[in-house]
């Protein structure tokens, strides 16, 4: 635990994928979890939006003595409010989710914050290994379960991936007892978003496999053929060492062996 760094986690209202009810957002919960593991109760958790939302108590129930709410309406833009808040607070680490579960879900907020504050951004963080001498070593979650280690200078913004430590269970009572510091702020209405048309998501058409064959014989072939690759190289008479070298060269060329 590093009690001397100032860590802020940003949280939003999530949406349950099946029932559609509001809930603690998956990645934001992980951002709080990561923040708690870094600095414990010294973590600052910030929400921009309505201060009465019961979901805030679910975050608080993760063991937070208090939370900060920058109170504004649903149609307002969170970015200017957060920028001025962070400029005033000057934290060392800001943790967010990758993509919110409600609203536009564009995932742009961490990028816009980083741009506005001029801080570096590390996307899709799985773990923050340690923070030392104004440097942090973080692990990025790459596709296919791979990890990349990156050293980043404080202060920085990190978006937290689903590969990070899962959020702990929330406790109902402590969540209710936590204090909410509500700050009223000058909010800006998101004009562009008001002109959008929102509708329930239409299922996307499945792509059909169209066989472009001119003759019936070709179509028959396409329907019955076994999946056969386009005639690869076959090595028969070389020594085992040469054959193994050929395989190993291919593995190196494809960068699966580093």
């Amino acid at each position: 635990m590093q009690p001397n760094v100032n860590v802020v986690s940003l949280v939003s209202i999530g949406r349950h994928p099946q029932s559609g009810r509001s809930r603690r957002a998956e990645q934001d919960g992980r951002a709080v979890e990561l923040g708690l593991s870094l600095v414990g109760e010294a973590l600052t958790v910030v929400h921009v939006g309505e201060d009465q939302d019961p979901v805030l108590r679910q975050y608080a129930g993760m063991g937070l003595p208090s939370m900060t709410v920058l109170s504004q309406g649903k149609e307002c833009d969170a970015l200017p409010v957060l920028t001025s808040f962070l400029k005033a607070q000057l934290p060392s680490v800001v943790l967010t989710g990758v993509r919110s579960e409600s609203g536009e879900s564009s995932g742009m907020l961490p990028y816009l914050l980083a741009e506005a504050l001029g801080w570096p951004l590390v996307p899709r963080v799985a773990e923050i290994l340690h923070i030392k001498d104004g440097q942090a070593e973080v692990l990025l979650a790459l596709p296919r379960g791979q990890r990349r280690s990156v050293q980043v200078t404080l202060p920085f913004i990190a978006s937290v991936d689903n590969a990070a430590q899962e959020a702990r269970q929330t406790a109902f009572g402590p969540g209710l007892r936590a204090t909410l510091h509500v700050e009223t702020v000058d909010s800006v209405v998101d004009d562009a978003a008001i002109q959008w048309e929102m509708s329930a998501a239409k299922p996307r058409p499945k792509r059909l496999k169209v066989v472009k064959a001119k003759t019936a014989a070709d179509r028959m072939k396409a329907a019955t053929a076994k999946p056969v690759g386009g005639g690869g190289k076959i090595m028969k008479n070389e020594t085992p060492a040469e054959k193994a070298q050929a395989i190993f060269d291919l593995l190196l060329e494809e960068k699966v062996v580093r």
């Binding site: 929102m198 014989a217 054959k243």
Partner: protein
């Protein structure tokens, strides 16, 4: 102007039927029937005794599957047309789509996993052409970083390429990529920037560019015309429709890939000094770290070493997988015989894998197994039987005993590990 070049000799290769001779050849009562048929069979032939000889070999014709067909209607079209139409190489080539002196550009920044276009990239190139078709003289430009191994850029719909190579673009280097994109923005002012909305870096780079240029992008877009864009919002539960912005991050299958045309894929000049791309010193990439390859879910694994009935030394197989840092897979026989756990089975009744490299050792390639590896990029087979289906599917097949090859591979992997360690200790 974009036009399609026509191949000049197209007219000569058109198959023309002479309907009148065909009709005469069918009609045995026609006064000219005999002469037409004998001309068709190369004139009548008389034997030494003056008898009329019929050549049984010219009766009928060879059908498309190589079998001889006899046309009882006696009007074999193929023969009467004189020459059978031979498909030339030129026919199978698609028409070339030319863009000379383009006035606008659409930039597509591909993921290029492993240096090749992904199907996601190809879909986006297809979409770029839909957008380009609504105006004239618009070129679709592929922007790619690092190694480019793609050989079919022209068929995927790339009019121009901006290709940047160099150590600065290797690994995690978002700032270097971003500085290139900014340079492209000032040089070319593209009509659109298209990115794949993917975890492979497309959405990261796109978001960075949008934040830098101060433009609001559409993310998770899946239906795009030049006026209107429909994108998913609220974790995929809502559709947002809006006017099409300049920067788009697109979902998979947002459009069909280019299928009918060939493109130039010419390099596009970009004045860019790679030393300028040194980027942000606040982010230092320390490289990919080794993860436990067997903890990676089989369906997601990048490199799978798979064992079949042709493995007899299982300890050696496991140590080879560990040395190569490959995720272990197995065929059903290996699982049923109890050598591997059920969760490692690849195939129709196991896991469908998406590995970039699939190394099959002693697997014959039964159809149930092949279904499971349909999405693998490169398949390598080690087998004693040169005629088996896995060897036919493989990009590289080695006909040898599995034990000998695995021993060699383990040795090579260990050697490389050692030399890497030496390098590191030298550097330190």
């Amino acid at each position: 102007m974009s036009n399609f070049s026509s191949n000049d000799d197209a007219l000569h290769s058109v198959f023309r039927r002479d309907l009148r001779t065909e009709w005469i050849a069918r009609n045995r009562l026609h006064p000219l029937h005999d002469s037409v048929v004998s001309a068709q069979q190369g004139g009548e032939v008389r034997g030494p005794t003056g008898l009329l000889r019929k050549n049984p070999h010219v009766i009928g014709f060879i059908g498309p599957n190589g079998l001889k067909r006899i046309d009882r209607a006696n009007g074999s079209f193929v023969a009467i047309g004189g020459k059978k139409r031979v498909p030339s190489a030129k026919d199978s080539q698609r028409p070339l789509h030319l863009v000379e002196n383009p006035e606008g550009y659409i930039m597509v920044v591909g993921d290029m996993i492993g240096g090749r276009l992904t199907s996601h990239d190809k879909d986006i190139l297809g979409l770029a052409h839909q957008l380009a078709a609504e105006k004239s003289k618009v070129a679709v430009v592929l922007v790619c970083f690092g190694e480019n191994k793609e050989t079919q850029c022209d068929l995927a719909g790339v009019d121009r390429v901006i290709h940047l190579e160099g150590n600065v673009f290797e690994g995690f280097a978002p700032e270097a990529g971003l500085s290139v994109l900014q340079q492209i923005e000032t040089s070319y002012q593209p009509m659109h920037w298209l990115f794949p909305d993917s975890v492979h870096g497309g959405s990261d780079l796109g978001s960075r560019l949008a934040a830098r240029l101060g433009e609001r992008p559409a993310t998770q877009a899946w239906q795009v015309t030049s006026e209107k864009t429909i994108s998913r919002g609220a974790s995929g539960s809502q559709d947002i429709s809006r006017t099409t912005p300049r920067i788009l991050m697109l979902m998979e299958e947002c459009a069909n890939a280019v299928e009918d045309t060939r493109h130039e894929a010419l390099p596009l000049a970009l004045e860019f000094d790679v030393s300028m791309a040194e980027g942000d010193h606040r982010l230092i990439d320390q490289g990919q770290i080794d993860v436990d390859s067997n903890a990676v879910p089989l369906a997601e694994a990048e490199f799978i070493l798979s064992a079949g009935n042709g493995i007899h030394n299982w300890d050696q197989f496991h140590s080879a997988a560990a040395a190569l840092r490959a995720t272990e897979g197995a065929s059903r026989v290996a699982v049923d015989d109890g050598f591997m756990p059920r969760s490692r089975q690849v195939g129709a009744s196991g896991t469908w894998v998406t590995a970039r490299v699939y190394l099959a050792v002693g697997i014959s390639g039964a159809i149930q197994h092949m279904q499971g590896i349909g999405q693998c990029d490169k398949v390598v087979a080690i087998n004693t039987d040169a005629g088996c289906d896995m060897v036919k599917r493989a990009d590289l097949a080695v006909i040898a005993d599995s034990e000998a090859i695995l021993a060699e591979l383990t040795r090579l992997a260990q050697q490389r590990e050692l030399s890497k360690e030496e390098e590191e200790s030298d550097a330190a």
